[in-house]
Amino acid sequence: MSKINELILVLRVAYARAYVRIKGVNRDLTHFFIDVFLPLLGISAIILAYKSMGAPENLLGFAAIGGAMIAFWYNVLWSMGSQLYWDKEQGNLQLYIISPAPLIGILLGMAIGGAFNMSLRAITILIATSLLFNIKFNLNAILPAFLIFILTLFALYSLGMIFASTFLRFGRSISKINELLGEPILFFSGVYFPLKLFPIVIQIVVSIIPLALGIEGMREILILNKTLFEIIWILILLIALGIIFFVIAVKMLEYLEKLGKNQGTLTLKWD
């Protein structure tokens, strides 16, 4: 019974955290347009570069999909990875800890809210790119693509939850870590080009990056007209990664809370 109550509380807190995140970010619509407009500039440049080299149509579609997904990675780093640190600096973390609500609810809410906000943007970006450059997707495969998309977000934001609890310990140098992880992961995820260009060893290694898997999967389905069964390994890997990352995140959080209570670091401010 008390387990059920705890679960209800986790979900309530997650809902509340997601709600305020969605409400806060979308209050000002200009933010939405800017979040769509700026990435569009970059993606347009890539597509034009492909066009000027006479690249096959497929590559344009690849870049459009990858480009739309970039925002998720930055969101995971900057709005998940550093969020608990900012919460600590503000004094919110202390209030979370002394409340009956489990911290995982807060993290879950951050993830759901962030994923929702970014999805609206990513889909808008994708539609805009396809209209601007007349890129065709296999619209019959929208549902399987959506499944891959959701699984990608699950794995990616679970990773984000790991970051959130781990990065808490880095203090102010968090922004440096985020910067260091930004572009390299985008590169290894092949956001603008097919992963097949990498040597096979690298291809295997990068399949622990949910972003890389998700982009690859959606390209196979939406552009290369593959069925879900032909890319079942991507599906399985994404589910496995999602679960593993989620469990690690929960464990990390428990460990961190214990450590923090022992050492006093959860409430101590660094600067």
Partner: protein, 276 residues
């Protein structure tokens, strides 16, 4: 520029280094500043590789993108160096007040901070360039750089990049929350309109004209030629145009910045960071 300005510039250079690198050891800092430019360059280089995998290599494209993106990174660090620094100082350090008190011209202060970032950006540029050339298998040893021309061009680059940074900073005087967005828009637009990854001729009609009035296009073309080792006469027109544009940008930027600064001072915007 008098002796006093030079020594001031030295102080600003040192100050900038302290602010940027104080969080770690010099060696780690060196690695840190190369990661971003290098991987951004690799992202672009692989566009070329993706196409060559299908259509066979065409080194000229590869070289175009390689030089374009390597130097575009420098533009980024130059503009961000001035504009972001300015915004950050204004919002977080409340440093600007002290600059006024010490009687250093704000534009000169920004010039100094920007100079540091520009110089700092040269190091990852070289690393990324060599690495990129290796990846696309460009025969580096066949290059016969025209170093005087290259040096002249880099100086010209510093001038127009600083000018652009000052223009952005003028705008930032009046905004608090949108600082990053303004900077980002300007830098991203240059990627689109500047002939970085492709020749600006493929842009649709009115947009390709925009490119003609941006120094970046000429600047990158002179760079491409100077690194290959072409004698000065073949880029003469570009060079002249670039000099005129850079000078014009700088003058306009200084005037606009001065005007905005005065308005901001009159409105009392420089003392109070507005955001929370």
């Amino acid at each position: 520029m008098g002796l006093k300005s030079i020594s001031l510039l030295r102080i600003l250079f040192w100050l900038s280094y302290q602010i940027e690198a104080n969080w770690t050891k010099f060696f780690i800092y060196l690695i840190y500043i190369t990661i971003r430019p290098t991987f951004t360059l690799m992202l672009m280089i692989f566009i070329y590789i993706a196409v060559s995998a299908v259509k066979g290599p065409s080194l000229e494209y590869g070289y175009y993108i390689l030089v374009g993106q390597a130097f575009y990174n420098l533009i980024g660090s130059g503009i961000i160096g001035i504009a972001y620094t300015f915004w950050d100082d204004k919002e977080h350090y409340k440093m600007l007040k002290y600059i006024y008190i010490t009687n250093v011209k704000l534009s000169f202060y920004l010039f100094g901070r920007g100079f540091y970032h520009f110089v700092e950006g040269l190091y990852p540029l070289v690393i990324a360039f060599v690495l990129g050339a290796y990846i696309i298998q460009y025969p580096l040893f066949e290059l016969k750089p025209n170093f005087p021309l290259l040096l002249l061009n880099i100086i010209l680059g510093f001038i127009w990049i600083t000018a652009l940074g000052l223009l952005v900073a003028s705008f930032l005087l009046f905004t608090t929350n949108y600082g990053w967005i303004v900077i980002d828009s300007v830098v991203s637009s240059l990627l689109l309109f500047g002939g970085v990854l492709y020749s600006t001729e493929i842009l649709p009609y009115p947009l390709n004209l925009v490119a003609n009035y941006l120094p970046i296009k000429y600047w990158l073309d002179v760079n491409r030629n100077a690194i290959k080792g072409i004698d000065i006469t073949s880029v003469f027109n570009d060079l002249i145009f670039l000099i005129i544009l850079s000078a014009a940008y700088l003058i306009i930027a200084l005037i606009i910045f001065r005007i905005c600064e005065n308005i901001a001072k009159r409105k009392g915007l420089l003392d109070i960071p507005i955001s929370f």
